[in-house]
């Protein structure tokens, strides 16, 4: 059960860690790298709150070993805002539309929606619902999250 030395680029910064093979990427981000923005709810792929971007694609960090991410780029919720702290369009839209209450699910939604709007800048209602269908929120009832996604699309279009 040798530990494995890995190198990840997390939010643009090269990070190294030495982890056992069984270390989940979610735990590596939170415990080895101290990035606790990535939340962990279910650890079997159902809730979506651990979603991060791997080479730009949203993936469940609880269903991936840190060792598999060796050499890849990871973006977590901490990496969505500008370096000066300015919130990203998706983050601003969530704040503006009250797309969160307790915030537990929010990191996963923000990462998922960031990728969704990059690939489909003007999604229809059904595409939005389909796009966020893998993320569970136990507070908001989703209405404001759906509104936030549409609002984020507007902000992105205005700022382009």
């Amino acid at each position: 059960m040798r530990d494995i030395a890995i190198t990840l680029t997390v939010n643009g910064i090269v990070r190294r860690a030495t982890v056992p093979g069984r270390r989940l990427l979610s735990d590596c981000l939170r415990h080895d790298l101290g990035l606790t923005g990535t939340h962990v709810g279910c650890e079997h792929g159902v809730c979506g709150c651990c979603t991060v971007l791997l080479d730009g694609q949203p993936v469940r960090s609880c269903l991936m070993f840190a060792a598999t991410a060796d050499g890849h780029e990871v973006t977590t919720v901490e990496g969505l805002a500008e370096p000066d702290g300015t919130l990203s369009p998706v983050q601003r839209a969530f704040a503006e539309c009250h797309g969160l209450q307790c915030g537990f699910c929010t990191p996963g939604f923000l990462c998922t929606v960031t990728a969704l709007l990059r690939d489909n800048p003007a999604p229809g209602e059904e595409e939005v619902v389909e796009g966020i269908s893998g993320n569970l929120c136990r507070c908001t009832g989703y209405q404001n999250i759906v509104r936030a996604v549409h609002r984020a699309a507007e902000i992105l279009a205005e700022e382009r």
Binding site: M1, R2, I4, P20, G21, R22, L24, D27, C42, E43, H44, G45, G48, T51, Q57, P58, V59, R60, C62, L63, M64, F65, A67, T68, D70, T112, E130, G131, S133, G134
Partner: protein, 289 residues
């Protein structure tokens, strides 16, 4: 909810992966997309001593669509196959079925071949492979063998894969002329495994009479259950064929079991309804192609 300890291997070539797998024998597990294996590890439902991560084997990330069908390499993700236009042109059922597999984010990691090897009787892709009569290619050092779908699935979460083997690709036959397919299912929540589902294939002759009609059922037995209903509707023009009777034959020949998600009776009822919908839609597609 943490995986048990294991030795982690990240081979750099298929040859190296096969050597490690041979050595590990029945104590080894292949890690592909991890969307089924890691939940099982997290829940401690499996305890492999060796995990062989094939995510570095980019030579297996291939999707080839040709006249013979769609050849999907072991590292091709659900999303990659779902988005491929050549795949949709050669075998449209793949895109339809993949749209029903989990959520988009899961499909970014999960692999088509991994789903086949995982052999969940509630999963869509094993039913598609069984319906179309496809096959899976299994490799060990120095040799490969192709296993046809009807003998590949051997039980719930059991396939013909032997310890030490690596599944390298799967072949989904092309959709022929005057042929149509459809997939209908019911799940409790969006993206969940279906409590019941039916995929259908209908082939017509030049006079638009039914030559072949088959249904593959999801969550209806230990493996995907294929029912040939050509005996009920064969020889009839597709608009006039007795699709309700054909669906009743599916209903007669399957015995789904009940569990906490649905009773056996409800599953069977759904199967009849979904089989009729899938057959009618497949026939319509075949008739208009």
């Amino acid at each position: 909810m943490k995986p048990p300890p294991f030795d982690y291997h990240a081979p750099r070539s298929v040859g190296e992966a096969l050597e490690i797998l041979t050595e590990a024998g029945d104590e080894g597990k292949v890690l592909a997309g991890g969307q089924s294996l890691i939940p099982m590890l997290n829940m401690r439902l499996t305890h492999p001593r060796h995990v062989v991560d094939v995510n570095g084997l980019t030579e297996l990330a291939t999707v080839e669509a040709g006249p013979g069908g769609v050849l999907v390499g072991a590292l091709a993700r659900h999303a990659q196959v779902e988005r491929s236009e050549p795949v949709a042109a050669v075998q449209p059922l793949l895109r339809r079925a993949l749209g029903l597999v989990a959520h988009p984010v899961i499909r970014n990691r999960g692999t088509v071949v991994g789903s086949l090897v995982h052999a969940d009787p509630a999963a869509e892709l094993p039913a598609v492979l069984a319906l179309l009569g496809g096959s899976v290619r299994l490799a060990r050092p120095g040799s490969t063998r192709d296993v046809a779908a009807d003998v590949f699935f051997t039980g719930p979460l059991e396939s013909a894969l032997r310890p030490g083997e690596l599944a390298v690709s799967a072949l989904f036959p092309a959709l022929g002329p005057r042929s149509g397919t459809a997939f209908h299912e019911v799940a409790r929540r969006h993206g969940d495994y279906a409590i019941s589902g039916a995929a259908a294939l209908v082939v017509l002759d030049e006079d638009l009479r039914v030559v072949t009609a088959r249904v593959a059922c999801v969550s209806a037995g230990p493996v995907p259950v294929v029912v040939d209903v050509t005996g009920v509707c064969g020889g009839d023009r597709w608009e006039a064929a007795d699709w309700r009777g054909a669906a009743a034959a599916v209903w007669d020949e399957t015995e789904p079991e009940g569990d906490i998600h649905a009773s056996a009776d409800y599953r069977r009822h759904l199967l009849g309804v979904l089989a009729e919908r899938a057959l009618t839609e497949a026939a319509q597609e075949a008739g208009n192609r």
